[in-house]
Amino acid sequence: MNQSDVAAALRQVLPDDCILSRDEELRPYECDGLSVFRQKPMLVVLPRTENEVRDVLVTCRRLEVPVVARGAGTGLSGGSTPHESGVLLSLARLNRILKIDPVARTARLQPGVRNLKVSEAAAPHGLYYAPDPSSQIACSIGGNVAENSGGVHCLKYGLTVHNVLAIRGLTIDGELLELGGGAPDHPGLDLLALVIGSEGLLMVVTEVTVKLIPRPQLARVVMASFADVRDAGNAVAAIIAAGIIPAGLEMMDRKATVAVEPFVKAGYDLSAEAILLAEADGTPEEVADQIAEIERVLQAAGATAMVVSSSEAERLRFWSGRKNAFPAAGRVSPDYYCMDGTIPRKNLGPMLEAIEDMEARYALRCMNVFHAGDGNLHPLILFDANTPGEWERADRFGAEILELCVRLGGTITGEHGVGIEKINSMCVQFSEIERDAFFAIKAAFDATGLLNPGKAIPSLARCAEYGKMHVHGGALPHADIPRF
């Protein structure tokens, strides 16, 4: 199918201003938040209604054209990297908040609504939407559903899957699916949980109903310094062992604080090898009690200095460095590559040591930010794409970190998704039989395989290829992915 035939077919069902086909119109869509992977789509469509989305899907299904759904394009795993002979389906125009129900504490949203906007709309009622990925100012709810996004508060408040009550959407066949609902329990299989985090492979979401929760009266954060990252890791375990579930529990190593401090002036202790941020929220009495307890535990765990936020402005300032770690990495290095593995917290020490060793071997720097409370690591590998060989080294560095995550009892991705980026690492984490089970699920929803092909689950051939590459070493991974 060539571009003009597909465009002609889509013009039958969509207004002209919903179809982009010229080169300069397609360029902005050639990558998502992971810009090392670029692919210009054949066409971009921007429908305004669910009916138009259905028409796009049915048309593409009939013409056997691949469809890649895209929200705000902030994804970090290339989940919405376009398909060269496919249609990129942007849900950006479905961006209305359909209803905020303060009594039922729910929000009904179109997929293109930005994450932060939900909390802003709920704020007059004293409510908010808990999952807060660092990109929350830009990322969309539809994208959050596709990736099962987390954030810095998910240890206490859960991931997207814990905060979405219902979704409505369409299969590639144009069939309407309504999963979940206003009542908490549903008969039959939990297809809602299955679809959340399915990276656009199973259906296209057109409506999301989320849970809103009361905003805590108060939140305060303790910032603690440690002379050794291992001590900081043990301090995290000590907090949990003391029966405390902080609202947020984050760690940054010195390489990360040194990078962000000039940028955000958060007041980080740059002499510390690692800093911990531990937040308590709730009633003023409860927060006072929990902060005192956290301080006690951190003291005993060897903190060399501690500061407690004394105002909301100061609390936000302490967090600003953490939330801006990625842009800060962009300031100290032309490019950075963010990893997203999760490990049992007890293995943090060995992991950080191994990363240090890899820095030497790959001759690249790596700064570490870490959702310490839930074991989710974000090593940021710094490189320069314009220096020949650096990206390839960064890519291998990343893959080695992910393999170590699996060996240490963890996973290759905690919240960013597999997308196209970690597809080879899936061969390490899952056996052929397990991957077959994923394909069986894919086929039950999308027998044609047209929804986001080539993402999230590697084919047998791909894993065989990756296995060989390992043997030979040094070969360029993702050799079949075009680069520009």
Binding site: E286, N376, A437
Partner: protein, 390 residues
């Protein structure tokens, strides 16, 4: 017999069943035999809580039924806690491990299963708890069973062992098969091992009583749920609303002062919430002795009182309502639940023509059939348990 040998035997039985196309009834302690689309009224678990209600015998080797049934795949021998690290907030156990054993291990370290799975007066296996996916009174405040599932191991119809998820809090590699299996009633395969997130037991807990009619109670539950209060239970029965508060003692005390009500003695409070959690409340008893049909309605929590005869037992802040109905009323409760945006299960008593479980939407039923066909092509696992003919 060591656990590996037990697992091998299970695999062999499954492979043989698959080859011979012989159905298998997956079973743990048998506390939820009634919880099935094809369950007859006779098998409902409504017994006096003082008697040994589970049909599961204490000694190994006996089968729960009068005559040994070769179609039963008894999972109780595959038991034991595999891994438990309190500071990681994760416990991993083999499917046949009794719930009481898991809960005792957690209690030793000041932790618990926050979704409060029902035991129905017996001692279910942890595999059965997850396969059924049922949750107790804390469900609306702490989360449901599926919210605490981190990983599962599946024995599929071909005898393969597959692992999904893991032992970490955040994991988005591959489709979330672990949560799909929670509540799957065994139709896709045998859950042989589960990893669950656990939480520290709340430092303080208080229960308050308020005399008020059900309409007012549901309104109050919703109002309070929209405020930053440490709620962990909200129920109503016979003119009295019960509120449970859990958390830091300062938070519980502050909420108690704010809400008022009458403080309930801790022993009585535990008795009340346990009865709700384990389905041992008086309404279960009376439904049985008076030949009533007991309906379990899952509703949006804001739903005003339904126009069904008789007062319900209300749990989950209004989202779960139990009605003991005249069997002549057919599936009227189901119609009322549907109209309110919810679903209804005929928990005990003769099932209406529309089935014991609430019928699935056609599109969802089609997907369920396709998944079943792919995971269990010969239909050996729990035929008819979730959907008639499947």
């Amino acid at each position: 017999m060591d656990v590996q040998a037990v697992l091998n035997e299970l695999r062999e039985r499954v492979m043989a069943a698959h080859q011979q196309r012989q159905p298998l009834r997956i079973r743990g302690a048998g506390t939820k035999d009634f919880y099935a689309q094809d369950a007859g009224a006779a098998s409902a678990p409504l017994r006096d809580s003082r008697t040994d209600v589970t049909t599961a015998p204490a000694t190994e080797g006996n089968t729960p039924d009068a005559a040994p049934d070769s179609s039963v795949l008894d999972l109780r021998p595959y038991r034991g806690i595999v891994d438990y690290e309190p500071s990681e907030l994760v416990v991993t156990a083999r499917c046949g491990t009794p719930l009481s054993e898991v809960e005792a291990a957690l209690a030793d370290r000041g932790q618990f299963l926050a979704f409060e799975p029902p035991a129905f007066g017996g001692d279910p296996t942890i595999g059965g708890v997850i396969a059924a996916g049922l949750s107790g009174p804390r469900r609306m405040y702490a989360g449901a069973a599926r919210d605490f599932v981190l990983g599962t191991t599946l024995l599929d119809a071909r005898g393969n062992i597959l692992r999904f998820g893991g032992q970490v809090m955040k994991n988005v590699a591959g489709f979330d098969v672990s949560r799909l299996l929670c509540g799957s009633l065994g139709i896709l395969g045998v859950i042989t091992e589960v990893s669950l997130k656990v939480l520290p037991r709340p430092r303080a807990e208080e229960t308050l009583r308020f005399e008020m009619p059900s309409r007012q109670a549901v309104e109050a539950f919703n109002r309070w749920s929209g405020q930053p209060l440490p709620l962990s239970g909200a129920a109503w029965w016979d003119g009295v609303a019960w509120i449970r508060l859990s958390g830091a003692s300062s938070a519980v005390r502050a909420a108690q002062e704010r809400l008022g009500g009458e403080r309930v003695d801790p022993t009585e409070a535990t008795r009340w919430w346990d009865a709700l959690r384990h389905c041992q409340h008086a309404i279960f008893q009376s439904a049985s002795s008076q030949d009533r049909t007991l309906w379990r309605l899952s509703l949006p929590d804001t739903t005003p009182p339904l126009s069904l005869r008789g007062d319900p037992l209300i749990d989950w802040g209004g989202a779960l309502r139990w009605y003991a109905c005249d069997p002549q009323s057919g599936d009227e409760p189901r119609k009322a639940a549907s109209a309110a945006g919810g679903t209804a299960m005929c928990w005990h008593g003769p099932a209406p023509a529309s089935g014991r479980f609430h019928p699935l939407q056609p599109a969802t039923a089609t997907l369920t059939r396709r998944l079943k066909d792919r995971f269990d092509p010969h239909g050996i696992f729990n035929p008819g348990r979730m959907i008639a003919g499947l």
